[in-house]
C-alpha cells in the first residue's frame, strides 16, 4: 500500500528519467557547444584557404613535431622510471611521488618562469650551458622541455599506478620459467599494461599539444621556431582572426582524430582481455 500523498509510480519514473536526461544534456552541450561554435564561425572556403597560410603551416609542423618528440621522451624515459618506482621502496619515495604530481597543480606560467630561471642564459644551470655555446631558452628545444615538464605527469601517474596494481604473480611465473627481468617486462608486463599506458600517452600528447603558458615564458614566440599552434592562435586572435580560427579548428580536429583512433585500437584489446 502506497503511503497516501506520494506521487504515483509512473510520474516518479518520468521525473527521474527527465532529470537524468537533463543532466546529460547540460553536460554534453556545455562541452560540445563551444567547439561547434568554432566551426560555425568560419566557412569551408575560408578554412581551406587559410590552411595554406605560412603561419598555419609552420605552427602545425612545429606543434606536431615537438609534441611527438616530447611524447617519445616521456614514454622512453618514463616507462622504466615508473616501473622501477613502482617495484621498489627507497628513502624519499614519497617526495618523488609528490614531485611527479607537481606540474599538474603548478600554473604553467610559473613552470615556464622556473625553467627560464634555471636554463636561461643567465640561469642557475643555463649559464654553464651558455659557456659551452649551448643556448636553451628561445629555441625549439625549450618548447620540447616545456612540454615535457607540464605533460609528463599524465603519463607517469598512469604508468606508475598500472605497474603498482599489476598482478605480480605473472612476473614471478615468467621469472621462474627462465625469463630475465627485462624479458619479463617486455613480454609479460608491457603487453598486459599497454592499454592503460596508451591512454596515458594520449593525454600526455594532448597536453603537450595545447601547452601555452610555459612555452611563451621559456621558449618565446618566434614563427617557425617556437610559435606552436596555441601561441599562433593567441596571437592570431588579435591580428589575423581567420588564421587564429583555422588553427583552433585544426587543434580540435587533431585531438578528435587521435582520441577516436586510440579508442578504436584499444577496443580490440578490450574485447580479447
Amino acid at each position: 500500500m502506497r503511503p497516501a500523498g506520494s506521487l504515483p509510480e509512473k510520474y516518479r519514473r518520468t521525473l527521474k528519467y527527465s532529470l537524468a536526461g537533463l543532466l546529460i544534456l547540460v553536460v554534453t552541450l556545455y562541452l560540445a557547444l563551444p567547439i561547434a561554435a568554432l566551426f560555425f564561425r568560419t566557412t569551408p572556403e575560408l578554412f581551406w584557404s587559410s590552411l595554406s597560410d605560412p603561419i598555419v603551416i609552420s605552427a602545425l609542423r612545429l606543434s606536431l613535431t615537438t609534441s611527438v618528440i616530447s611524447l617519445a621522451v616521456v614514454i622512453l624515459v618514463g616507462t622504466p622510471f615508473a616501473y622501477v618506482h613502482a617495484r621498489s621502496t627507497y628513502p624519499g619515495k614519497v617526495i618523488v611521488d609528490t614531485l611527479i604530481d607537481l606540474p599538474l597543480v603548478l600554473p604553467p606560467a610559473v613552470a615556464g618562469f622556473a625553467l627560464l630561471v634555471l636554463y636561461g642564459r643567465v640561469g642557475l644551470l643555463g649559464r654553464y650551458f651558455n659557456m659551452l655555446g649551448i643556448s636553451i631558452a628561445f629555441t625549439t628545444l625549450a618548447v620540447i622541455m616545456a612540454q615535457i615538464f607540464v605533460a609528463s605527469p599524465f603519463y607517469l601517474r598512469q604508468a606508475k599506478s598500472l605497474f603498482e596494481q599489476f598482478d605480480q604473480s605473472y612476473e614471478y611465473t615468467a621469472r621462474t620459467l627462465g625469463a630475465s627481468p627485462l624479458r619479463t617486462f617486455m613480454t609479460v608486463t608491457l603487453p598486459l599494461t599497454a592499454g592503460g599506458l596508451v591512454s596515458g600517452a594520449v593525454m600526455t600528447f594532448g597536453r603537450a599539444l595545447g601547452e601555452f603558458g610555459a612555452t611563451i615564458m621559456f621558449a618565446g614566440n618566434l614563427p617557425g621556431v617556437t610559435q606552436t599552434m596555441p601561441l599562433a592562435v593567441y596571437v592570431g586572435m588579435e591580428s589575423n582572426f581567420n588564421v587564429g580560427l583555422t588553427i583552433s579548428i585544426l587543434l580540435v580536429i587533431i585531438s578528435f582524430v587521435i582520441m577516436i583512433t586510440v579508442r578504436f585500437i584499444l577496443r580490440k584489446e578490450v574485447l580479447h582481455a
Binding site: 603537450a208 601555452f212 588579435e238
Partner: protein, 325 residues
C-alpha cells in the same frame, strides 16, 4: 509531514538541478572568471610581475582545461575578466599595460583630488582589453595605446560621444640588461650577429610602433641590410610589452624595444639607447568614457583628472611625453 516528504525531496532535487543549469548558463555566456589580472595599486609597479599576469591570463585557464576539449588560447580570446564590484565613486579603468608603472601614483593622486572617488586599473595589452570590451566586459574608462583600436571601438559605438581625447604619448626606446652582456653601444650594434633581441608581436601596439621605427631607421640612417639583420636577431615576439621588459631585465636577451615610459619606470634595471626623434614613432594614447558605464560622474571626473596638470605631470614623471597641442 510524512506523506509530502517524498514530493518535497523531488521538488528540492529539481530546484537544485535548475539552479545548476542556470548558473552554468550564466557562466558559459559571460565567461567571467574571478581571476584578477593586475590589481593596479599593488602589483603594477613591478615590471616582473606584469609579464606573469599577462601570460597567466590564458595560462591559468589552461591548467583546468582537459587538453582534448578546447585548446587554451581559444578561451583566452575572451580573456578572463576581473570582476569588480562598483560603487558610485569607484572607476574601473581598462588601461594599456604600458601605464603599469605610473598607475599607483595616478590612483593616489586621483583619490587626493577627488576624495571619496577611487580608481581600479585593469592593465593589459590594448588588443586584449579591446576584445574584452567587445565581449561585454564592464569598464568605465578606456585608455588605449593605439589609434587603430580606439577607432575600432569608436566605430563600434562603445565610447560616449565627445569623450575621446588624446591623453599622452610615448616614444620607443631600446633597453639593454643592466650589465649589457652583448656590449651594445649603438643602434648599429643591434645588427651584430649573435645578438638576441626581443620585441612585441605586431598585434600589440608597441609592436607596430617598433616595426615603424625600424623601417624609419633603415630608410634614414642604416640600410635595409641592417633592418634584415635586426629582424634575424629577434628571438621572440612577445604578446605584451612587459613581456619584453622582463626578458631584458632577466638578461635572457641582449636588447628589447619598449616604450620610454617603461624604461623610466624601472631605469635602475636597464641601460638604454635612445632613438632619434625624427625616426621614432610617437604612440598616442587616448582616453574615453564607455557608454556601458554606470558611474559616469566618477568616470568623467577621472578623465578630467588624467587631463589635468596633476595627471599629466604624473605621466611626465614616468617618461610619457605630453600631447603636442
Amino acid at each position: 509531514m510524512q506523506q509530502t516528504s517524498k514530493a518535497h525531496t523531488l521538488i528540492l532535487v529539481s530546484i537544485v538541478c535548475g539552479l545548476l543549469l542556470v548558473s552554468a548558463f550564466i557562466a558559459g555566456c559571460t565567461s567571467s572568471t574571478s581571476q584578477s589580472t593586475t590589481p593596479a595599486p599593488t602589483a603594477a609597479a613591478e615590471t616582473t610581475a606584469a609579464p606573469v599576469t599577462n601570460t597567466s591570463a590564458p595560462a591559468a585557464v589552461e591548467t583546468t582545461v582537459a587538453p582534448l576539449t578546447t585548446p587554451a588560447p581559444v578561451m583566452a580570446t575572451s580573456t578572463p575578466k576581473p570582476v569588480y564590484t562598483y560603487s558610485e565613486g569607484n572607476v574601473v579603468a581598462f588601461t594599456a599595460a604600458s601605464l603599469s608603472g605610473v598607475s599607483p601614483k595616478l590612483a593616489a593622486d586621483f583619490a587626493k583630488m577627488y576624495p571619496g572617488h577611487s580608481v581600479v586599473f585593469n592593465l593589459d595589452g590594448t588588443q586584449a582589453l579591446r576584445t574584452q570590451v567587445q565581449n561585454g566586459a564592464y569598464a568605465d574608462v578606456f585608455i588605449s595605446a593605439s589609434n587603430s583600436y580606439t577607432t575600432e571601438l569608436t566605430k563600434g559605438g562603445y565610447f560616449v560621444d565627445g569623450t575621446v581625447k588624446p591623453l599622452t604619448s610615448n616614444y620607443v626606446i631600446v633597453i639593454l640588461p643592466a650589465n649589457n652582456p652583448a656590449n651594445i653601444k649603438s643602434l648599429n650594434d643591434l645588427a651584430k650577429p649573435g645578438v638576441k633581441i626581443a620585441m612585441e608581436d605586431k598585434s600589440v601596439p608597441a609592436g607596430t610602433a617598433t616595426v615603424a621605427v625600424l623601417a624609419n631607421l633603415a630608410k634614414s640612417t642604416y640600410s635595409q641590410d641592417w633592418n634584415n639583420s635586426v629582424y634575424n636577431n629577434v628571438v621572440t615576439y612577445e604578446t605584451s610589452e612587459p613581456g619584453v621588459a622582463s626578458k631584458v631585465q632577466l638578461g635572457e636577451v641582449d636588447a628589447g624595444f619598449v616604450y620610454e615610459s617603461t624604461y623610466t619606470a624601472g631605469s635602475s634595471k636597464y641601460q638604454a639607447i635612445r632613438i632619434p626623434k625624427s625616426d621614432n614613432y610617437l604612440q598616442t594614447y587616448t582616453i574615453g568614457l564607455l557608454k556601458g558605464s554606470t558611474s559616469k560622474g566618477a568616470a568623467a571626473d577621472f578623465e578630467t583628472f588624467m587631463l589635468s596638470t596633476v595627471g599629466q605631470q604624473d605621466l611626465k614623471d614616468y617618461g610619457f611625453r605630453p600631447i603636442s597641442t
